[in-house]
């Protein structure tokens, strides 16, 4: 399947010109829309069908047989710049995102220096100018992510930070988190929490369970996440602050979130594709690409996350894209750094493993990867409604492919899905009306 039309709509038609995506199946849960049709764009935004004489001048993209989806919005990616450019940069991460149908990425502040002041937020935004997808910086809750002194949330919000997070760390002192939740209410910035009690997870390399026992590896128990999730949710309830539990990994965490939502706590949550698909059993050969934090959990946890996603307790799927170099992975298991890339596989993994088997409807999947995360971040997008940004993707639901890390646009290749056969391919990604990714050299069907 190959769309016709100019390589860049910014050329012939121009970002200010008119373009139409014809004959695709438009799936837009934000507007309860799922129908064959045409989608019109002008000036980087989605527009209503123009008058006939004007319509004739439009650049045409043929999307017959393809799905037309609102661009995905990723809540959680590590783009590693500044400080760890050998793993990823804003530019390479944005391109990897576009290749995965993601048109907006929220990037984590665990950089060096940490994204914890206005100028650093602005630096990220400058680096993102002209990048293949929109980049929304998440800034740290505390200076240097040290869990001690609050960052200047007012300045951070003004500079463009969309959320606050100490990325990869929990705030040890509950009084600090209490104040952060209270203070951020002024700016309506969600606080993203990584739930992990370091005294319970210390020295652990994988989920604590029968497989860790067999492999002789120290485990990371589920309660290392759950005790902190329970505390953080209680603090959110107490303060009325907005909290977002990112990369929830256990069934009990899902239950804690579910009951918090029932009590009216302002909580949202995401889970990562690998936690929705893979279990600790897959680590039987000490494959360091499956070393992730939080760790791949048990089958019961996967089932709990899936149920949470299906009933809306888990609002979003987020990539938790964590690039690592070859040397950081090609070593003894206990020496290897945790983390997995995910921008380029998220959609196809969710489509193959959850949508195809009927565990999640296509509309709910799009909602979880586009509409809901856009709402959580308070950014444009997540919909194909007229007037919104022309951020979208064309997706071939019948395209099958095998994950090959060497072909990634990311600078890193540490995918836990390498070698896996997936269904569904991103054919084209459009950001602000411009083609930011187009699959090269498509194989003939």
């Amino acid at each position: 399947m190959r769309p016709d039309g100019p390589d860049t709509l910014g050329g012939a038609a121009g970002a200010t010109g008119l373009a139409v995506i014809r004959n695709g199946r438009i799936v837009d849960p934000a507007c309860s829309r799922d129908e064959q049709g045409d989608l019109w764009m002008r000036g980087g935004r989605i527009v209503d069908r123009p008058a006939d004489d004007e319509a004739k001048s439009a650049a045409v993209i043929d999307a017959a047989g393809l799905l037309v989806l609102p661009g995905l919005v990723d809540l959680h990616a590590h783009l590693c710049e500044p400080g760890f450019e050998y793993r990823e940069t804003v530019e390479s991460g944005a391109l990897a995102a576009a290749a995965g149908g993601i048109t907006a990425v929220a990037c984590m502040p665990d950089t060096d220096p940490v994204i914890d002041d206005g100028p650093t937020v602005e630096f990220i935004r400058e680096r993102a100018e002209g990048a293949a997808s929109k980049i929304h910086p998440i800034a740290a809750i505390t200076a240097g992510r040290r869990g001690e002194r609050l960052t200047e949330a007012g300045e951070l919000a003004e500079a463009g930070a969309v959320a606050l997070s100490d990325a990869g760390r929990s705030i040890g002192n509950p009084a600090i988190l209490r104040r952060a939740l209270e203070y951020s209410r002024m700016f309506d910035l969600p606080i993203f929490v990584h739930c992990e009690d370091p005294s319970l997870s210390a020295g652990g390399h994988m989920h604590e369970g029968s497989h860790a026992t067999r492999l002789g590896l120290k485990g990371i128990p589920s309660i290392a996440e759950e005790t902190v999730a329970a505390r953080d949710l209680m603090l959110a309830e107490w303060t009325g602050g907005r909290i977002h539990v990112t990369h929830a990994s256990t069934a009990v965490t899902v239950e804690l979130i579910r009951s918090a939502k029932q009590r009216g706590v302002r909580v949202t949550a995401d889970a990562s594709p690998h936690h929705l698909v893979l279990t600790d059993e897959s680590l039987s050969t000490y494959d360091t690409h499956l070393k992730i934090n939080p760790p791949l959990r048990s089958k019961a946890d996967v089932d709990g996350l899936r149920a949470g996603l299906a009933d809306g307790t888990i609002d979003a799927v987020a990539s938790d894209h964590t690039p690592r170099s070859v040397d950081e992975k090609n070593t003894e298991f206990q020496e290897a750094l945790p983390g997995a890339t995910g921008l380029e596989t998220m959609l196809a993994v969710v489509f193959t493993e959850l949508v195809r088997p009927g565990l999640l409807s296509l509309g709910d999947a799009v909602k979880a990867m586009s509409t809901s995360p856009a709402g959580i971040l308070g950014v444009e997008g997540g919909s194909l409604a007229s007037g919104g940004p022309a951020d979208l993707l064309l997706f071939d639901p019948d395209g099958t492919w095998t994950v090959d890390a060497a072909s990634f646009k990311s600078r890193s290749a540490n995918s836990p899905f390498t070698g896996r056969a997936l269904e569904g391919r991103v054919i084209m990604t459009i950001v602000g009306g411009r083609v930011s990714y187009r699959r090269d050299a498509p194989e003939s069907p």
Binding site: R214, G216, K218, T285, Y286, D327, E332
Partner: protein, 318 residues
């Protein structure tokens, strides 16, 4: 000596006993029996590995295992090299995959590896295209030659493995010896009970086919083999148990407690013993103790493993 249908091992490496079959374990034990005769000769040397070189790669300190392997290699006429380095490969400045490449470039036939990181021998075997890898202990994962020498010692003393009740006492969580024994014993048809404080029993170990108990008396009652594991006294600092005194009070094996085991029960320990902690000296030095037989059998078992994995067995099955 029992006749065995197998004449050679199916595996190329010895990473662990988890995936070794009853027939393969039987072949190793039978081959070790015949090497015990060699050890008793006035000239304890056979030419089985002449022209082969073996590197002993010890990334974690070890005295007895390294000496035992070295003796086994020399008695098989292999050329041996020793490489000893403590600390992680990262702190040492060379990655394990680079070490593997160097080994490959030096045309080494066989690598005996001891490493503090579970999974390191498997990783090494995946990096090497031709050399044989023998795991001499990796983290808390496996110590397969220890498991095999323990099986041989039990078989020698009690005449069989099938149906034995073996009690493993102590720090199961951090013990590669326990894991290799569990796999080997279960495969050979023995029943295993593990006993220690709940903090030192790893989660879901029942899935390895063992019974768990927390009271020493329950573990010892009717046991054919009482196997005390070495307790690392540093574990106190990590709050696995409150004190050595309490550990010994609850799990120390003394002559009175040993009365609960079968009259002909044997006592084992992988060494080095913390005398008066996990094992009372009156037990360690009694006629029931086969602890020094374990050491002797260690050399024979390692000769058998080295021999079988380096081309022995096919042309000349023991």
């Amino acid at each position: 000596m029992a006749k065995n249908r197998l004449r050679a091992l199916r595996h190329r490496h010895l990473i662990g006993l988890e995936d070794y079959s009853r027939e393969e374990i039987g072949l190793i034990l039978d081959t070790a029996d015949s090497f015990k005769e060699v050890i008793r000769r006035p000239i304890r040397k056979v030419p089985a590995l002449r022209g082969k070189n073996v590197v002993n790669l010890f990334f974690e300190s070890s005295t007895r295992t390294r000496l035992s392997f070295e003796l086994a290699e020399k008695q098989l006429s292999a050329d041996t090299l020793n490489f000893t380095s403590t600390g992680s490969s990262v702190s040492k400045g060379e990655s394990l995959s680079d070490t593997a490449r160097n080994i490959e470039a030096m045309q080494v036939d066989c690598v005996v590896v001891r490493h503090a990181a579970a999974g390191a021998p498997l990783f090494l075997s995946q990096c090497l295209s031709s050399a044989v890898v023998i795991n001499a202990g990796d983290g808390a994962h496996e110590h397969p030659t220890q498991g095999l020498l323990d099986l041989l010692t039990m078989r020698d003393a009690l005449g069989r493995l099938e149906g034995l009740k073996v009690a493993l006492i102590g720090d199961i969580a951090h013990s590669r010896v326990a894991r290799s024994n569990i796999w080997g014993l279960r495969e050979m048809g023995a029943d295993v009970v593990v006993c220690g404080p709940p903090t030192l029993i790893p989660v879901d170990i029942e899935e390895m086919g063992v019974e768990v108990c927390y009271r020493l008396a329950d573990a010892l009652r009717g046991a054919d083999v009482v196997y005390a594991l070495r307790i690392q006294l540093e574990r106190q600092q990590e709050a696995f148990f409150p004190s050595q005194r309490e550990y010994t009070r609850l799990f120390g094996i003394d002559p009175e407690r040993l009365e609960l085991a079968k009259p002909d029960a044997i006592v084992m320990h992988p060494g080095p013993i913390n005398r008066g902690v996990e094992l009372d000296s009156r037990v360690a030095d009694s006629g029931r103790s086969v602890i020094l037989d374990q050491v002797t059998n260690g050399v024979a078992v390692r000769m058998a493993v080295l021999y079988l994995l380096n081309g022995g067995g096919e042309r000349d099955a023991a």
